[in-house]
Symmetry: C2
Subunit: 275 residues, 2 copies
């Protein structure tokens, strides 16, 4: 998917919401457990009910790997279902991969070639040759971890060098030599609201994938205030706050309602900030 | 597996070799391709022929995920085969995972609980709460990336703070508050031979998992000179140089020969350095 296609979708839907498919068998409604593939059935219902209000889906691999082979089947079926029915949606595999060159190349082949997924989250710790194999595919995206939403982000990402430059800034700066705003996005947690201004000075055009709104406590308004560009430049992920809004039989309807509320909020922000 | 059990095995076998199961369908002997599960058949033959000369196996998840569901089946069968037939061997899943707390907890459950694997490689970029969920399991190991063997390790891992402390040193220091030498090892690439002295000042007792000997050009002698402790403290991984030593029908025999050569070299080093 091209940058242009993402922006078109944001404008058409007046939404920059990504629904995170962190599907946990322990949290989905009881009545689904009698289905042959409860995780896929849950995802299917969530996707059908939220597709109009979001532009992207982000399945988190951990939740699928937790079930081994069965989990991979559910993951692959979910990807196929989105592609078959909602192929304007960006699919981000949240896998946080990154390894030496030949291994990263292998992961790239899996996610981009075999599964034809649009985007993959990648961890930067191992540097250039761990990231560039993912950048060899046209219209595919690396979503590089920069400043994450969790408490542990303070342990290393905020470390300052002798010139006062923090590690996440180095990641933002250096990685712009590897990719560009057509094939690279960055993960910046919504819990780091005040940092978006600084980040936009380094990456004025790149899309930022923003987790941490909702269950983790980040503020949509603050993120948009400091992080939004003329082309939006933000994809806001919400997982638990939408998909587990109800854990009863009405889960899909309630998830749709929650996604609609976020979309309406986003529509107002787009109105004020961009149009 | 306990630290004690690992050390006992090193002493008994006079080896600290880990065989990396980076099994690539494009590199395994042609005649295996007619098997129902070529990757598993390859692994089985390699394991049977090398088990006497090594103390650990390290399947690299990328190579299994590349085949989706089929790959996961091959991975699980490989784990089960090692556990059933060579249960004194340490099994390290090379997955380089690491995510926000609830997601890391999910990965930990998968690898340590469901699959009962001994050790998992983990990336430190997201800090404490991305690592500690893996440390909640008794006799299981986090193998944390510190200084990797690839060229890209220079991009961020060597960055110095205002006091001249490099990022990988910070990782070594800070993570000792999360775990100890009974549940944590570190990845240090063999290509960084000269750095082992510095590393041993920070982590005198921890086991180091050392990739990069062989195909990547690191020197076993140099690593042992600077990195070996009285209890060995090293697990040296070799993947391609052993498992693809021959790509013909004699692949298992040649892999055994290569593993034996490394074991003999290790035996001499143990003789000189420890006994």
């Amino acid at each position: 998917m091209t940058r242009h296609q993402i922006i078109d979708q944001i404008i058409a839907k007046r939404s920059f919401l990504c629904v995170g498919l962190d599907t946990d068998i322990k949290k989905i409604p009881q009545h689904l457990l009698k289905e042959e593939d409860p995780i896929f059935e849950f995802n299917k219902a969530i996707i059908d009910s939220t597709a109009s209000f979001c532009i992207a889906y982000k399945p988190n691999l951990a939740f699928y790997e937790a079930h081994g082979v069965k989990g991979w089947i559910a993951f692959e079926k979910t990807i196929e279902y989105i592609k078959a029915n909602y192929n304007d949606h960006l699919i981000i595999a949240d896998a946080k991969r990154g390894d030496i060159g030949n291994t990263s190349a292998m992961y790239a082949r899996t996610f981009f070639e075999e599964m034809d997924i649009d985007a993959l989250t990648v961890a930067p710790y191992m540097g250039e040759d761990s990231v560039t194999p993912f950048l060899q595919y046209e219209n595919k995206w690396v979503v590089l971890l920069a400043l994450t939403s969790n408490k542990g982000s303070q342990d290393f990402q905020l470390l300052k060098d002798a010139d006062g430059i923090q590690l996440f800034e180095k990641v933002l700066k250096q990685s712009q030599q590897w990719g560009n705003s057509e094939n690279m996005m960055y993960v910046v947690g919504a819990t780091q609201g005040q940092m978006f201004e600084k980040i936009r000075q380094i990456v004025p055009d790149h899309f930022l994938l923003v987790p941490g709104v909702g269950a983790q406590g980040g503020s949509l308004e603050e993120v948009c205030k400091y992080g939004m560009t003329e082309e939006c430049g933000l994809i806001i992920n919400s997982s638990r706050a939408i998909i587990y809004a109800s854990q009863d039989k009405d889960f899909a309807r309630v998830a749709a309602q929650r996604a609609l509320e976020v979309q309406q909020q986003m529509s107002r922000i787009i109105e004020n900030k961009i149009n």
